[in-house]
């Protein structure tokens, strides 16, 4: 703080959040924590529940690590991070099983498995352990939201194509492509969405470059 001129400008809250949603989207870009992204996304609701769980765990454990970052010995940081995540996962797990038991029955195993999600621990290691509380919060929020949006979009696509409904509301009388509700369909849905994400990003990138060229 004494020499603000020499330090690069810290990224703003908006940048941090958008970074998590687009540039470093955990599912589509970093390809981390894919297991739940395929497993529970047969419906929008399932995706939403797991997405919210991940968002909460990510934010809470990022905050914990950011608060305790001076006190964790670097040699044992990974086990400590794992334990911090495990504590929050257990808490969220119990909350979900208490308040939404019907949905929990479908996603329960994967909620517990949030402990082993690479995305959460990698954000702790890369970001929260080096940054103060507030940026860590926004980074975690962005990552969590990016994960949530990815899960919901995959869920929407699979529910619409596989069941002809959206959030449980039937839109089409038949089941248009039951294939997408099957296990294998999950992989193909991600293939298509990832490719779409790549195309959009490439468009945006080339437009930005064009705009930059025109401005010059």
């Amino acid at each position: 703080m004494s020499a603000p001129v020499l330090e690069p400008r810290p990224p703003s809250a908006r940048e941090l959040i958008l970074n998590g949603i687009f540039a470093e989207n955990p599912v589509f870009r970093l390809a981390l924590s894919l297991c739940p992204a395929v497993a529970v996304t047969t419906t929008v609701m399932n995706g939403l529940v797991l997405g919210v769980a991940v968002l909460l765990v990510q934010v809470l454990s990022s905050l914990t690590v950011a608060l305790a970052r001076g006190r964790i010995h670097p040699r044992i940081r990974i086990p400590v991070y794992t334990l911090i995540i495990a504590v929050w996962v257990s808490a969220i797990d119990m909350l979900l099983s208490g308040f939404v038991p019907a949905l929990y029955a479908q996603v329960g195993l994967y909620v517990k498995l949030i402990v082993a999600f690479a995305i959460i621990i990698s954000r702790l290691e890369v970001f929260a352990s080096r940054q103060p509380l507030v940026p860590s919060f926004y980074d975690a929020l962005g990552m969590g939201l990016g994960f949530l949006l990815a899960l919901v979009s995959i869920g929407a696509m699979r529910e619409l194509l596989g069941n002809g409904s959206l959030v449980g509301v039937p839109l089409v009388a038949s089941k248009p492509l039951l294939f997408f509700a099957l296990p294998a369909g999950g992989f193909f849905s991600i293939t298509l969405l990832m490719a779409l994400f790549n195309i959009i990003e490439r468009r945006v990138e080339s437009r930005r470059r064009l705009a930059a060229g025109a401005a010059r």
Binding site: T82, V87, M94, L113, V115, A184, G185, F187, T191, M194
Partner: protein
């Protein structure tokens, strides 16, 4: 040399025959005594020959052969008989067809009404082991039907050598963590009613074992550590390794079952990795649309494998 050895076998065979003869005489005496004491057939053996079939071997043919003459119950629930659909008689053998598949881990009791006989029935432990292993490895393959361990799956399946190394390391660590966490769950968490600490304890076990293995390997087998060390680090952040103890705890599985689940799912993961790495090596030479390059096409490939693995669900007799 030759005659001596020939003599040896000859003597062996001779003594074997004598023993067999004695056994036969004894057996005849016993059955004779049994027949004298209790007229009518006696149950010689009962075996579960298929998940829904029980074969009964009797000493003499049975008179009553309609399904009502038999009663088959689970030992834990003696008031709820399991429906018997068919009775097939082949001489002194009776084959009972059940309306439902029997649980390979279960414990059953077979009763005959006329003449009154009963026998405890337990499906073979080996059958149980094989069933769980095959079902975890193929029918419910962790990668292709349960989607576990995908990060690692896509991360290390680019080259065949790494895939094989990872698969082997994984299977080993999985069996070790599966067994250790089963013990902790059964002997510590359950008696103390601390099941809500499952996640915490199991991830602790995984982290502890991985660290232990890493340290021990580094000191004792330098070359092995250099080859497999990097995979060890990756294991902690993999859901598949944690899923096995969690599934076992949820099903309250026995020791053999949980061992079999760990072994089967490890083997299934290794198999999936191997298949995928072979396919991806060939993919290097293929021309892929630019927006599908890299991960998207790998996902499509995994989807095709998943479709193929759906065929294994036809292995119905394993369920």
């Amino acid at each position: 040399m030759r005659p001596a050895s020939g003599g040896g076998t000859g003597r062996g065979a001779l003594s074997g025959m004598v023993a067999l003869g004695a056994a036969l005489v004894l057996a005849a005496g016993f059955t004779g005594a049994a027949c004298a004491a209790q007229p009518g057939p006696v149950i010689r053996s009962v075996r579960v020959v298929r998940p829904d079939q029980v074969r009964l071997v009797l000493s003499s043919p049975l008179a009553g052969t309609d399904p009502g003459n038999f009663r088959f119950t689970e030992t834990a629930a003696p008031d709820v008989p399991i429906e018997i659909r068919t009775v097939r008689v082949e001489g002194t053998e009776v084959v009972l067809g059940m309306a439902q598949s029997l649980d390979p881990a279960g414990d059953y009791r077979l009763e005959v009404r006329e003449p009154p006989l009963e026998r405890r029935v337990r499906p073979s432990r080996w059958a149980l082991l094989l069933t769980v292993v095959l079902s975890a490895a193929l029918i419910n393959n962790f990668v292709f039907t349960r989607y576990l361990g995908l990060c690692i799956f896509f991360g290390v399946s680019k080259k065949r050598d790494t895939a094989v190394g990872m698969g082997a390391t994984f299977t080993f660590v999985m069996v070790a963590t599966g067994t250790l966490s089963w013990m902790l769950h059964q002997f510590v968490l359950k008696p103390l009613q601390l099941q809500f600490l499952q996640v915490l304890v199991f991830i602790g076990v995984v982290a502890f074992l991985v660290q232990l293995l890493d340290t021990v390997l580094k000191k004792t087998h330098r070359a092995l550590h250099e080859r497999f060390g990097i995979y060890l680090v990756l294991i902690t952040t993999n859901c598949i390794i944690l899923a096995v103890p969690l599934l076992n705890a949820a099903a309250d599985a026995g020791p053999l079952e949980s061992f079999a689940l760990a072994l089967g799912s490890g083997a299934g993961f290794a198999f999936a990795l191997f298949l995928m790495s072979c396919a991806r090596e060939r993919l290097e030479l293929a021309r892929v649309p630019s927006s599908f390059e890299g991960l998207p096409i790998a996902f499509a490939l995994a989807g095709l494998f998943a479709l193929a693995f759906m065929g294994f669900s036809g292995l119905d007799f394993l369920r």
